[in-house]
């Protein structure tokens, strides 16, 4: 192997051989279905659920997998300021152009081949006109821009994720609009083709900066806020207990990320209110966007919260400094939960201060007040107030839940489990769309689901309680939780369930929904099993 190009290709193949073989196996299965099982010439309905399950979902999953493989996403820390391009490759005696170009070429080729193979094997003849060139080019372009944007060093932690998501969503939107307006293939190719050299230049620039060790630091721009935060959180006195010390540690380590991200995004969202003065519907869409920002951002910051060693991108183990703290694993988790609560509250404080100010300054308060008055007239003041408070509490709890619900996976420190769960989640999210569409399109399915709802809820409750019982047994056997913590935790959970049940009964006092259904919903809504599993996960990682 005397060529750098071959060496880079070999590394991709060697490291991801099982995944790439699985992709080849999938294409083989599809080819078998296409040529041996389906009747020759039988048209394939691209809008059917079967097509979604056999082609759309696996194809999208494979595309996401290829994005991660060729942008080195499996090895790097997406939330870090530093480039995720492997630093070990910067010392290789090859040009920056080669470092950026070869992975881009291989990735683009892989995505283009994936499309062409899938089109040839899966949807031919489809009965519908399926384009050949531009989807392949779109896949390659998305991959190339993903590489360029993820290899770029950024000035703020987490900024990479936001920039990448926004840029790729913008590119995707342009393409969706083009499809909507039936733009012809040559035009699509003309729009997409120039993206490749542009993405290559951006990637080359990114790798060159990363190779020179250039990592911009824009945290200074927030120095005043940072200084205030430092003054507020810097300890000048002694901690009254180890638990308080650990909670402070967690806050300083992870707690400020979510409020900072929300504070960064919120002004851009609320600025749109100035454009929406004459469009009440748009005002509420902007407000909804602002309200879902904390839970949405929490999903990203949760990755760093659940990562035991945030400073090392490819290490999942608990660092000795933390592992040797004379605290139980349960106490270490309690500190994380406490930090998540403060972090969620701080983020929501920002939202709750910024929204009224933006509504007032933009002159859109009357629109909101008018809608509030109508709600008040429709359901009465007490219910309207409770509804608003419930929605707000739901958003805050969901932000906190987003921050902590993946602890039981991330803290295990097992790479196969963490990456497997990411793949499963992606697959679930991809499957969710077609399933929801299927339900919406089928009144009979909706009726069947409505009739079976109590049974489904009861099954889920049974699953949740069984998992919780198994986890509680393990916690007890390993003495990870004391008897008092068990009793207090169980009592707290029961109180939360009862409180939610009471509110639900009061709010939904209708004969259409049985009370036991509300009880099941309350049991499912209050976190139990996954949270209880977090100390087990940490202990599994801490004492390997």
């Amino acid at each position: 192997m005397r060529s750098p190009a071959l060496a880079i290709a070999w590394e991709f193949r060697q490291r991801h051989r099982w995944g790439l073989m699985a992709v080849a196996g999938y294409l083989l299965v599809v080819a078998t279905i296409r040529f041996l099982i389906l009747e020759p010439g039988e048209p394939v309905r691209v809008d059917s659920l079967r097509f979604a399950a056999v082609v759309s979902v696996p194809l999208t999953t494979t595309f996401v997998y290829l994005l991660a493989v060729f942008s080195f996403g499996f090895a790097g820390d997406l939330a870090a300021r530093q480039s995720i391009y492997p630093a070990r490759m910067f010392t290789l005696p090859v040009t920056t152009a080669a470092l950026a170009g070869w992975p881009m070429l291989y990735g683009s080729a892989a995505t283009a081949i994936l499309w062409l193979a899938a089109r040839l094997l899966a949807v031919w003849p489809s009965g519908t006109e399926i384009p050949v060139m531009w989807p392949a080019l779109l896949g390659a372009t998305l991959l190339a821009w993903t590489q360029a944007l993820t290899w770029m060093p950024y000035g703020l932690p987490g900024l990479r994720v936001i920039v990448a998501v926004l840029c790729l969503a913008a590119l995707d939107t342009v393409v969706l609009l083009a499809i909507h307006y039936n733009v012809r293939e040559p035009m699509m190719v003309a729009v997409l083709a120039p993206q490749m050299p542009l993405a290559y230049l951006a990637a080359r620039f990114a790798v060159a900066r990363a190779r020179r060790g250039v990592v911009p630091d824009w945290r200074g721009m927030f120095a005043r806020v940072g200084n205030i935060a430092d003054v507020l959180t810097r300890r000048r006195d002694h901690f009254p207990s180890p638990a308080r010390a650990q909670a402070w540690f967690e806050w300083r380590r992870h707690g400020r990320s979510l409020p900072a991200l929300v504070g960064l995004v919120l002004p851009f969202e609320l600025w749109l209110l100035w454009l929406a003065k004459d469009a009440p519907a748009f005002v509420f869409e902007i407000l909804f966007l602002a309200l879902i920002t904390p839970p949405f951002m929490a999903a990203f910051t949760a990755w760093t919260v659940s990562k035991p060693h945030p400073n090392v991108s490819d290490s999942y183990g608990v660092p000795p400094f933390i592992a040797t703290r004379p605290l139980t694993s349960a106490a270490l988790i309690a500190a994380k939960l406490q930090m998540a609560m403060w972090s969620a509250l701080a983020a929501w404080l920002l939202v709750l201060v910024a929204i009224p100010v933006a509504l007032d300054w933009s002159g859109t308060w009357p629109v909101v007040l008018d809608r509030a008055q109508r709600l008040n007239d429709a359901i009465g003041t007490p219910r309207a107030v409770v509804l608003v408070l419930l929605i707000l509490a739901g958003f805050i709890v969901s932000t906190w839940k987003q921050l902590v619900q993946s602890l039981h996976i991330g803290l295990t420190g097992r790479e196969w489990l963490i990456k497997g769960s990411v793949l499963l989640t992606l697959t679930f999210l991809i499957l969710l769309g077609p399933i929801v569409e299927w339900i919406i399109d089928s009144p009979s399915v909706q009726r069947a689901l409505w009739n079976a709802l109590p049974l489904i809820l009861a099954g889920l409750v049974g699953l949740k309680m069984s998992a919780a019982a198994w986890i509680a047994t393990r916690l007890d056997r390993r003495r990870l939780l004391g008897d008092r913590a068990f009793v207090v935790g169980a009592a707290g959970w029961c109180a939360a369930v009862l409180a939610l049940y009471g509110v639900l009964v009061w709010f939904f006092s209708t004969s259409f929904i049985a009370r036991y259904v509300l009880a099941l919903v309350a049991i499912l809504a209050i976190p139990l099993a996954r949270l209880s599993a977090a100390p087990l996960a940490l202990a599994w990682n801490r004492h390997r």
């Binding site: 901690f239 660092p319 592992a323 040797t324 004379p326 605290l327 390993r478 004492h543 390997r544």
Partner: protein
């Protein structure tokens, strides 16, 4: 004989096909300085991680102060001062924050002693850990390992990052002081000359097995050739062969 601070019995640990520790048995009575020596990869850090509860015994048993460090991490770790080979102190903390944070975990923390150590090590309380040199980071780690006057001090390759003069002065003084007070020190190193200066008792480990464990004086006496007392380096090479000999410090 006084009670054992550390008691390891038939401890075996494998990482895949590699046997890191093979039926290791060890007992360390209170009040001495133990040198744990061996080449890189011999199993020293693996053994120390078992003592700290960072690794679970696959077979055999580990007891520190008579407690299982995995089952009772608080009971064991609150009595141990540990300086990690990796020296992974959080870079975002300032020195004074590190001291205050660490203080919360140890009821026996001695503020006066911590301040004395900070001054001896010339650590600026307002300096961020990330801005400290490697040697200063090691000193900061040593400070928090010592300031609660632990019953057992575990130093895992503490020499890395310290220049020879400071290393000799600081480690010699610290280890002697602690041993004089009836505390126990476990000092792991592959620099045998350093261990020879401070250890009362030496345990040599090679390919996961203990090849020698005895008081240093007894080891020297047993290997004496006429009037000449061989160095620990020579004894180690004689025991495990040239190929495995650790680097001689420059």
């Amino acid at each position: 004989m006084s009670e054992s601070v550390i008691s390891v019995s038939e401890l075996t640990r494998r990482f895949g096909a590699t046997t890191a520790l093979a039926s290791v048995s060890l007992s360390m009575p209170r009040g001495a300085v133990y040198g744990l020596v061996g080449a890189n990869g011999a199993g020293k850090t693996t053994l120390i991680k078992h003592l700290l509860g960072l690794l679970r015994a696959e077979s055999g048993s580990v007891r520190v102060f008579g407690l299982d460090p995995v089952a009772d991490p608080v009971g064991v770790l609150s009595r141990i001062g540990y300086l990690s080979e990796e020296n992974d102190l959080p870079g975002w903390m300032r020195v004074d924050e590190l001291i205050r944070y660490s203080r919360a975990f140890y009821p026996a923390w001695d503020d006066g002693y911590a301040d004395e150590l900070r001054q001896t090590f010339a650590l600026d309380p307002t300096a961020k850990i990330t801005n400290l040199s490697k040697g200063q980071k090691a000193r900061a780690g040593l400070l928090i390992a010592l300031a609660h006057r632990p019953e057992l001090l575990v130093l895992d390759e503490p020499s890395s990052g310290l220049d020879p003069i400071v290393r000799r002065d600081i480690l010699g003084a610290v280890i002697r002081t602690i041993a004089d007070e009836g505390r126990t020190v476990l000092f792991s190193s592959h620099l045998l000359g350093e261990v020879e200066q401070v250890a009362d008792h030496v345990t040599m480990i090679h390919h996961g097995k203990i090849v020698l464990s005895a008081p240093l004086d007894a080891i020297r006496d047993s290997r004496r050739v006429g009037e000449r007392v061989p160095s620990l380096d020579e004894i180690f090479i004689a025991l495990v062969g040239m190929a495995a000999a650790p680097a001689r410090e420059a």
